[in-house]
Symmetry: C2
Subunit: 274 residues, 2 copies
């Protein structure tokens, strides 16, 4: 998907919501467990109930991978069930070099046909480049994450020409030169909205993927005001607050209500951006 | 596997060789391609030809993942075929937080029963802790890697109480306090042997996993002299130079000859350590 197509979807739906498909066999409604593929059946119902309210879905690969080959089948069926025009993110946080990196790109862009994949920057440019060689596919690089221990290294001060700046800024400054705002995004945790503003100064035109709103405590209004650019420029993710809004027979309706609530709020906030 | 058991294997086999199972469908001998599971058949032959010469096998997960669910089946059969007493490493370079991290640990330690998994440190302690809660399982954390662009961030100078030190040292200093030398190792690329010596000063008792000898240009003698401790303390990986030593019907014999060459050299080098 191109950046223009993504922005058009945001305009049309008045939403920059990404729904995280962190589908947990221990948390989905019990009545699904008798079906042949409960993970896919849950995702299918969630997608059918919410696809007009969001612009992206983000399956978290850990939840599928832990179920072995069966989990990868559920993932493949899920991706195939996401309607055209919705941006798909493999939240895989991969990062390797050489042929390994090339094969990770192949996994998510060819074997599973995702639009994008999240990537860890620790190994440097070698670990990102293979993902940037595909047309209309995206590398979403970890900048500053929403967890507490992001502070362990991401906020460490790195020397640069005598002055210091945090590692995550060094990462974004360097990585923005490897691709363009047409094939690279950055992960910016919602639990640190003050940093979103600083990141926006480094990458005014890039999309930012913002996890951490909802269960993790990030505030949508704060995040949006700090991160908007003239094309919206944000994908804000919510996972558990939508997926597990209900856990009875009506879980999909409850999920829809929760997503509708976020989309309404986004509609209001977007007035100042798009 | 415990550290003591690993050291005993090294003593017994006079080898600290880890064979990387970077099994590439485009590189394995053509006569295997007609079989139902060529990847597994190749690995099976390599394992049977080399298991007395090495102490560890390290499947690189990218090579399996890119083949979809079928690739994960090949991986599972491969792990099951590795004899007891050999240390197994899932070279996955995962790194996530919360439940995602917990599920990645479950994937490699329960679904696939590996002894260890390689992990990226960018997200901090949250991304490592779940792997340290298993008995006799290991987290192998990226320190300094063998690729050229490791310099992008790993060698960046981080401020610490007014003085500077490279990020990889900051990572190792912090991460060594999260676990112990009984459940944590660090990746230290063979292409930078001078750094191995410095890392050995920070973690005198930890095992180091050293990729990059052979095809990537690292030198076994240099690496060993810089990295040995009184229990050997090194697992030196070779992948392509062994796997693809031959590509005819006799590929497994050729692989054995290549592995035997490395093991001979290791036997000589070990005299000064064990």
């Amino acid at each position: 998907m191109t950046k223009e197509e993504l922005v058009n979807q945001i305009r049309k739906k008045r939403s920059y919501l990404c729904i995280g498909l962190d589908t947990d066999i221990d948390k989905i409604p019990k009545h699904l467990l008798d079906l042949e593929d409960p993970i896919f059946e849950f995702n299918k119902a969630i997608i059918e109930a919410t696809h007009d309210l969001c612009v992206a879905y983000k399956p978290n690969i850990a939840f599928y991978e832990c179920m072995g080959a069966k989990g990868w089948d559920s993932l493949q069926k899920t991706v195939a069930h996401i309607p055209d025009g919705i941006f798909t993110i493999a939240d895989a946080k991969r990062g390797d070099i050489g042929n390994s990196s090339k094969y990770y790109a192949q996994t998510f862009f060819e074997t599973y046909d995702f639009d994008s994949v999240t990537l860890a920057p620790y190994m440097g440019r070698d670990s990102i480049d293979p993902f940037l060689s595909y047309n209309n596919k995206w590398a979403i690089i970890l900048g500053v994450t929403s967890n507490e221990s992001a502070a362990d290294f991401q906020l460490s001060e790195v020397n640069k020409n005598g002055a210091g700046r945090p590692l995550y800024k060094e990462v974004i400054e360097k990585a923005k030169t490897w691709g363009t705002d047409q094939n690279t995004m950055f992960v910016t945790g919602a639990t640190r909205p003050e940093l979103l503003k600083e990141i926006r100064e480094i990458v005014p035109h890039h999309f930012l993927l913002v996890p951490g709103v909802g269960s993790q405590g990030g505030d949508l209004t704060e995040v949006s005001e700090a991160g908007f650019n003239s094309e919206c420029g944000l994908l804000v993710n919510s996972s558990r607050a939508i997926l597990y809004a209900g856990n009875g027979e009506d879980f999909a309706e409850k999920a829809r209500e929760a997503a509708r609530g976020v989309q309404h709020q986004m509609d209001g906030l977007l007035s100042s951006s798009l």
